[in-house]
């Protein structure tokens, strides 16, 4: 008796924190096939960038994602800096790097909690999120906000650190450094947790490369790819020492281990930065107009390689901005991992890539073959959105 039926997961489902739609063909508790539909959370941000100045864009792009806001900001800022031909001063570079690592800690702790929640381990979730408050408080102290720090700008960072803050940061980091190994041990020794994550969501090394997985997902499959090593930015490579973390487990447990060890590596990076902070300015003056040119900027966000493509046309507004978020790179491997898995493993396998749908979502305009290509400008897109919701009775 082998009867398959289709189980929809999404666009609204408790396992999903943001809307997307999976269709699973299931045979009892086994998944035979998985299919994915994107586009429920498209906000037209790339198009929006073209209608705004660079200074406005940096804050708009920060809001592409709530968790990796700093990564998006850094990525855009360093791309535009390259086009402008300016370099941030050393102190600015160090603080930029510090923000990236602080954000990585907060994101990885958040992910650990979400992973715990997806397998029903709510106590684990509560503890990791409680400890995440430590790093959230540090971020708030440095930048003035818990999310959307707004620290990066063209030519450096917007706020300097003072002595008191460095001391508080070091204390906070030391506290987290003492706490993180506990979660790593728990993930590897608590029997029910191990039962749910060890050997689940296997992604062999060759498949990870073939399906272009990114970030901790690929590093947990033994691929030592990290933008911080392969295309150094923000002081990595020459100024700031850094060790890459990989694991050969290829399963969800390996992804937990990689993320926990990455946190340990980040604590070392941050301690180095705070102890060796160079003196001087944190930013250089940046022009308002950007000379013609195009560039690709890469950052190792918490979830993997983040790419921004920027094309400038000599005005104060970009000609084209394109965001390739790491989650998009991880979807093919997620579908691969889901095929043949148990129904109960859907949430944890999906969560294991740390998906961020608002970063990722795409919109496709299917143009009429006879009407030629249809180009949407910002205003049309906005009007379309307002109309779309008005038709459904939602007041804009």
């Amino acid at each position: 008796m082998s009867e398959t039926f289709v189980l929809p997961v999404g666009p609204q489902h408790p396992a999903l924190k943001e809307p997307t739609s999976f269709r699973f063909k299931v045979d009892g508790e086994y998944i035979v096939d998985a299919d994915l539909r994107l586009g429920y959370n498209h906000r037209g941000m790339e198009k929006g960038c073209e209608a705004r100045t660079y200074v406005q864009d940096i804050y708009l792009l920060e809001r592409v994602c709530g968790i990796c806001s700093n990564a998006h900001m850094t990525c855009f800022a360093q791309g535009v800096e390259r086009l402008m031909g300016i370099e941030p001063p050393p102190r600015g570079v160090f603080i930029r790097c510090l923000m990236g690592e602080l954000e990585r800690i907060h994101s990885h702790l958040l992910w650990l909690g979400v992973a715990g929640h997806e397998i029903g381990f709510d106590t684990f979730f509560m503890y990791t999120w409680r400890d995440r408050e430590v790093v959230m408080d540090l971020l708030e102290m440095v930048s003035g906000n818990r999310v959307n720090y707004g620290m990066q700008t063209f030519g450096g960072v917007r706020r300097d650190l003072d002595g008191m803050q460095i001391k508080t940061l070091l204390e906070g980091i030391a506290a987290l450094k003492a706490r993180t190994p506990y979660y790593l041990n728990l993930g590897a020794t608590e029997p029910t947790m191990v039962a749910r994550i060890a050997g689940v969501g296997k992604l062999p090394r060759e498949k990870a490369i073939e399906l272009t997985a990114a970030g901790p997902t690929t590093r947990a499959s033994g691929v030592d790819f990290d933008v911080r090593k392969d295309d150094p930015y923000a002081g990595f490579g020459d100024l700031i020492p850094f060790t890459i973390v990989t694991d050969n487990g290829c399963d969800v447990l390996a992804r937990v281990v990689v993320r926990a060890k990455e946190m340990m590596a980040s604590y070392d990076i941050m301690e180095f930065i705070l102890r060796n902070l160079p003196a001087g300015e944190v930013r250089t003056k940046a022009p308002r107009k950007v000379p013609e040119g195009e560039t690709v900027s890469r950052v190792e966000a918490q979830r993997g390689e983040l790419i921004h493509y920027i094309r400038a046309n000599g005005t104060d507004k970009p000609d084209r901005v394109k965001v390739r978020a790491p989650t998009l790179a991880n979807w093919p491997s997620t579908l691969y991992m889901l095929r043949g898995a148990y129904l109960a493993d859907i949430p944890i396998i999906m969560a294991a890539i740390d998906p961020c749908l608002s970063c990722t979502d795409r919109m496709a305009v299917i143009s009429d073959v006879r009407g030629g290509e249809k180009v949407w400008d910002w205003e049309t897109l906005r009007q379309y959105g307002i109309e779309f919701h008005r038709r459904r009775g939602i007041r804009p």
């Binding site: 106590t123 503890y127 102290m141 003035g144 906000n145 959307n148 506990y182 020794t189």
Partner: protein, 129 residues
């Protein structure tokens, strides 16, 4: 590593006797850090009317308008500006404060107020004259 049954038991029983970590907001409030980016507040006496904040605001939440133009006795033109801040749109990025060129003190500053929820959108349109 070997498996340990109930690996978390000692930890949870220890927390049974600890004070909970939850803060009872809004009855208890954490202290706000000095650098918090709260609501933008404008001082019309200091504004020079350059409109840099209006131009740079990513959320288009600021409107600057000229209120009056008076000529002082020594022949200098003195203009006075008013500002409307739509706090419901404000993204609290602080770019307005950063870009403000007024010397010696900036004409627009972000204060420490963060509880922006309101029942009426109109209450979040704040006029500085």
């Amino acid at each position: 590593m070997s498996l340990r049954l109930g690996a978390m038991l000692p930890e949870v029983f220890r927390h049974l006797f600890k004070r909970p970590a939850t803060v009872l907001y809004p009855f208890e409030k954490n202290t706000v850090p000095a650098r918090l980016r709260g609501r933008p507040v404008m001082d019309p006496d200091k504004c020079i009317g350059c409109r840099m904040c209006e131009r740079d605001c990513p959320a288009e939440a600021i409107e600057v308008t000229q209120e009056s133009e008076t000529r002082t006795d020594d022949g200098k033109v003195k203009r006075r500006f008013s500002m409307v801040v739509y706090v419901d749109r404000c993204a609290h990025c602080g770019q307005c404060e950063e870009i403000c060129p007024a010397k010696p003190d900036k004409a627009i500053k972000l204060n420490e107020f963060f509880e922006e929820a309101a029942f009426d959108r109109g209450a979040l349109k704040i006029v500085y004259k």
